[in-house]
Symmetry: C2
Amino acid sequence: MSTQPAHPALLIPGPIEFDDAVLQSMSHFSESHVGPGFVSVFGETLSLLRKLFQTTDPAAQPFVISGSGTLGWDLVAANLVEAGEDVLVLQSGYFSDGFADCLTTYGANVTKITSAPGSRPQLDEIEKALSAKKYKVLTVTHVDTSTGVLSELKKLSELVHKVSPETLIIVDGVCSVACEEIAFDDWKLDGVVTASQKAIGCPAGLSISMFSGKAMEKFQSRKSPPASYFASMKNWTPIMKNYEAKKPSYFATPSPQLVRALHTSLTQILAKPLAERFAAHRQASDKIKQAVTALGLQQVAANTEDQAHGMTAMYLPESVKATDLLPILGKKGVVFAGGIHKEIASKYIRFGHMGVSVLDPSRTDIDKALTALKEGLAELGYSKP
Amino acid sequence: MSTQPAHPALLIPGPIEFDDAVLQSMSHFSESHVGPGFVSVFGETLSLLRKLFQTTDPAAQPFVISGSGTLGWDLVAANLVEAGEDVLVLQSGYFSDGFADCLTTYGANVTKITSAPGSRPQLDEIEKALSAKKYKVLTVTHVDTSTGVLSELKKLSELVHKVSPETLIIVDGVCSVACEEIAFDDWKLDGVVTASQKAIGCPAGLSISMFSGKAMEKFQSRKSPPASYFASMKNWTPIMKNYEAKKPSYFATPSPQLVRALHTSLTQILAKPLAERFAAHRQASDKIKQAVTALGLQQVAANTEDQAHGMTAMYLPESVKATDLLPILGKKGVVFAGGIHKEIASKYIRFGHMGVSVLDPSRTDIDKALTALKEGLAELGYSKP
């Protein structure tokens, strides 16, 4: 049983509900960011991230930096791309557009393969683009939190390695790391950027990322200095290496409480095989998607194979407004999120199902949410056509 | 009495010891970053910051962004300066150099007025520099955490307004906000950037800043877009305005737990007149500096009027190594910090005295630290000459 005060189940696609032990770590007494206790915990946290990303390559480099998931885009844009270099952005929603804007801010020459809301660029289009021009970097949003569209990384990477093997494959994994399978080494990825508050299950406030040895080499061979100071890999790489070697080191003060909470959540995640965790998210997602379909609702992600397993974005019936439904769900103790994809924002809602809400058998969040959704729609006069 | 587990008193110049209620806020149950409860708390937090900075100018703009104090430098460098523009950096230690490096990263043309360790640029030198060239921005480190040197803001601002009234006055207040007086409006400052984990008394993880209406106007009139994405005022200003108006808004996910903790600490700080708070820090500092002098130790900040009130940097006797003394202090339950000013790093140590350690009458941190320091020096064979 949770020791948290009674509160609505937070079932938005991040932040998610957190485990009691993780929240308790957030109130750890104050300690020095360069003292042996914290240095050891931070070092272990970085090593645990290697396991979470399933990488054993010693040249791969993890980063944990105070910030939000968005900071990961700056890390890529300011370090792995130089002004005027070409980047191919696979657009599958609001967040792919954000990544593109960030890249442009730092001077990248961005080409976007766009797609209609709920779909994603297809391999043949991507192959054509990669054959037409040499790109330094390709970015893909593993799960676009605005649409719940899942991109297929393994086949994408095979294609990139076949057609344009020099191109770095950078994944926005904010809404996928720790709920969707990511085999960093096996799939030959070059970077995954994510955040703490989604399936990793630690409060917001940390940018978390992993870059391949190849990406770090490309970074080292830049002609110009990194284009950011706070998001500079030059400033952070020695710090991360030192912490992981359990040596105190300083560039900017990390958050001991957030890093302790991340250590707690990663320790919990890695106490069981990752395959079980991914399977549990798939099972919960299948159950939710079946229930949504049974209610007669369409998902934003139209094709079954494009549907994320940690969230479900669903169109509302024409007669039901999100601004009416969401407060009703709130009164029933369930918090869902509205739509944010600008072309369809008012027409759909989002249900996040990651972490303890799907994994902790003592929680009834998911069943409560499905019941609330059914009842809420009925209260607004909707019945399945 | 604190309900925290027994632990050494953290008396480094940040992070500091935190109040129980602040730490409890860190483990607040998960909530939506756009839900009414959190939006209200974030909005109030921004309004409380106006009081902390003693500004009533509605055109002044507060920012609270996940990150560290260092991110405040990027906020200044990427938004208030354009490539090739001139910035005058008043150098009073390690952190002034860091600010200069950050400005250079974004293309500023930096002129530094340097000073020997423990001192700071003098008004006559600054007047000469301001008369010789027109600077877009002047930066000053209110308290340089590496040396404990305090800069005098009021007279500096009077000088700048007399000699070069267009120049924006930007203060690095990481080690001064909430322990040194800062009258943002009265002193006509244009920006103060700080962090959560020092005298503000909230765990690390937040960049906190205030900019004047004049600074925001200069930002609005930039010719080029901001040079950062995560640290872009263009991206964050509407978000901060919306939160303060209690309207949900999204650019990047804030940390509800950290913002709740900040709300708790600001509410505590503002429950009493700020003048009392600053006076209490001065009194504690005077007592500490007298005790340090009585031990025969010299401060790094040579002149009394240049000495900060939230920390004391002190040279060690030649016979005593910091690497021997600091572990002895640790065994006595007191954590001090080593030196970090590169020219003198091994020769001195730093004692932070901010927040609850000096204000909470139930805490004996300061007396414990002074006793430990005296005993530790004696154990290493030192006696006052």
